[in-house]
């Protein structure tokens, strides 16, 4: 009897404790949003949000906080990274799901996982050692632009490499979710493999593919160190890909912690963090809902 009681007691206590931990952890995201918002309120009280987002003048000491150059910098780096990575990642994931033999897959998959584990400072270091000189000495002269090499193009390229692993693994899952029968029917009708991929897998899965891409880039959006190391960090609206830019995460990393004496500055940087968080939140929730639907339809 006693033994039974202790076992039951353990069960009850453990389940309560686990519930508590689980509930607290899932609240973390809301706590973060609330915390950042409370701090950022200070600057939102002085200027309206559209004003802050669309003004180009960034002079913290004069109390002018225009986020426009930073937002544009972030968007440009991300768009360039998408441009470099989407075609190659889609092709690679199609190759891995449809064409590659089990042996090749078993060789390549761990390598891609390895790529995911490399820390961002190492990507940044590689960017400085390889991509920066490449852009400066070979690519930019080709187009007749003088550049230091620390520019949008370099940042976009390094970021593209960083999103390869996420993008490949998520889009692989999307392609894998296509029922085998569909593939076989298409092949039996005499379609080539590529036609099968194109008509039976890509077109009906277009939502899933877009979701995979969005998910990959919600990760890329906030990438800080690697981009910051190669993108130049000049607060201006860039007019070409060979010009330096200053993305939002780099702005926070470079200035937060030192400028605590100016409360408005502090609030402005936390507003930048809040913006990053909210953008990532919207994109990743949207993408996940689409992906979940696909999963459900298949299963």
């Amino acid at each position: 009897m006693n033994l039974k009681l202790t076992r039951k007691l353990k069960e009850v206590i453990a389940s309560r404790l686990m519930l508590l931990i689980t509930a607290l952890s899932s609240m973390l995201i809301f706590v973060m949003i609330l915390g950042l918002f409370l701090k950022a309120r200070l600057i939102l009280a002085t200027q309206s949000l559209p004003e802050l987002l669309l003004s180009t003048s960034w002079h913290p000491l004069r109390g002018e906080f225009g986020f426009y150059p930073f937002i544009l910098g972030t968007i440009w780096v991300t768009v360039l990274a998408m441009f470099f990575s989407i075609p190659s990642c889609l092709l690679t994931s199609i190759y891995l799901t449809e064409y590659a033999s089990a042996k090749i897959r078993a060789f390549i998959k761990p390598l891609i996982d390895l790529l995911a584990g490399i820390p961002s400072v190492v990507y940044g270091l590689w960017g400085i050692l390889v991509v920066v000189p490449l852009v400066k000495d070979h690519i930019a002269p080709l187009f007749g632009y003088p550049t230091s090499g620390y520019c949008l193009l370099t940042g976009g390229f390094v970021l593209a490499i960083m999103v390869f692993p996420v993008l490949i693994s998520v889009s692989e899952e999307v392609f894998r979710a296509v029922p085998h029968e569909v593939r076989e029917i298409s092949l039996a009708l005499g379609a080539t493999r590529w036609q099968t991929v194109k008509h039976a897998q890509m077109v009906p899965r277009i939502k899933g593919i877009i979701a995979a891409i969005v998910l990959g880039f919600s990760r890329a959006f906030g990438e800080t160190m690697a981009v910051m190391m190669v993108v130049g960090n000049v607060a201006q609206v860039p007019s070409s890909v060979f010009q330096p830019a200053y993305p939002l995460p780099a702005l926070i990393a470079n200035n937060y912690g030192e400028m605590m004496s100016i409360p408005l500055y502090d609030a402005a940087l936390l507003l930048a963090a809040l913006l990053l968080l909210l953008i990532v939140l919207v994109f990743s929730v949207g993408a996940r809902i689409v992906l979940l639907r696909i999963e459900r339809r298949v299963v």
């Binding site: 931990i21 790529l115 080539t192 963090a273 968080l277």
Partner: protein, 281 residues
């Protein structure tokens, strides 16, 4: 050859090319960093803290960063395991479907939150509590960063454990907790280990989150309230110095970091295959 076959050959060629390029870039990154950095490694680099004038080219090493990184990553791995393991268990058996999917979604979102946001948020909280940049702050922020990775990875492997095993265990009279701890966890052990090591690898390589919260110092931290140096930040700061021979030390620091991360992933693979023996298939 008709058009269809031509198209097939063309796209197949493109696919192989892009796969080769992606794999090639991986090797290029590893090769460049290892080849540049390995010759610069020395014993003093690994065993000494920076001496006066280290950042101007004088002697010393980055022992402070190596120890700091290990403290941070082990501390955070330990803390997040304590939190992640119960959550993963709870999601398996206790949580209702709705609540479980809510928790999973919220953890997935947390996984995507940029590490700089964790850093900024963490530092704000620390200021509020009156803490300066310190080892403890770094560990806590890294814990937040690792928590979603570890929990979701554990959750996924535990979900793979066949339901029959749990039911068998109930049939012989175990409570839910006993079934989870003695049957499900043991079945999922290799996967749990992989989850822990995955989170460890992420944590030790992350720089943006500990930039403000752990700080940087030339000394080895002696208490939780001392600031702590770390390898990723050592790479970053050394690269930012003006002298080329000091910048080169960043390459060596990057090699140390890469070696730690690569060996974590190799160990994880080896242990997984070894422990899989005990899993009922």
């Amino acid at each position: 050859m008709d058009r269809r076959q031509l198209e097939e050959a063309f796209f197949k060629g493109l696919m192989i090319a892009s796969t080769v390029i992606i794999v090639g870039i991986l090797f290029a990154i590893l090769a460049v960093v290892l080849l540049k950095g390995a010759p610069l490694l020395s014993l003093s680099m690994l065993t000494q803290t920076p001496k006066g004038g280290y950042y101007l080219g004088k002697g010393g090493g980055i022992l402070n960063a190596i120890i700091g990184s290990l403290y941070l990553a082990f501390g955070a791995t330990f803390l997040s395991f304590i939190i992640a393991f119960p959550i993963a268990l709870y999601l398996q058996e206790y949580a209702r479907n709705r609540f479980a999917s809510f928790v999973r979604l919220s953890l997935d979102i947390l996984w995507g939150v940029p590490s700089i946001v964790y850093g900024a948020f963490g530092f704000t909280i620390m200021l509020y509590l009156g803490l300066r940049a310190c080892l403890l702050g770094g560990i806590i922020v890294l814990t937040l960063l690792m928590l979603p990775i570890m929990t979701r990875a554990m959750d996924e492997v535990m979900r793979m454990v066949p339901h029959e095993l749990r039911e068998t265990s109930y049939a012989v009279g175990s409570t839910r907790l006993e079934a989870l701890l003695r049957v499900v966890s043991r079945q999922a052990l290799p996967g749990i280990l992989t989850a822990v090591l995955l989170a460890f690898g992420r944590g030790i390589g992350d720089a943006a989150s500990i930039l403000f919260t752990a700080g940087y110092t030339d000394h080895i931290p002696h208490s939780l309230f001392d600031p702590a140096a770390s390898l990723p930040l050592a790479v970053f700061f050394l690269l930012g110095t003006p002298l080329p021979e000091v910048q080169e030390r960043a390459y060596a620091a990057a090699v140390i970091l890469l070696v730690i991360i690569l060996s974590t992933s190799v160990i994880s693979r080896l242990l997984t295959t070894k422990w899989t023996k005990f899993v009922i298939k």
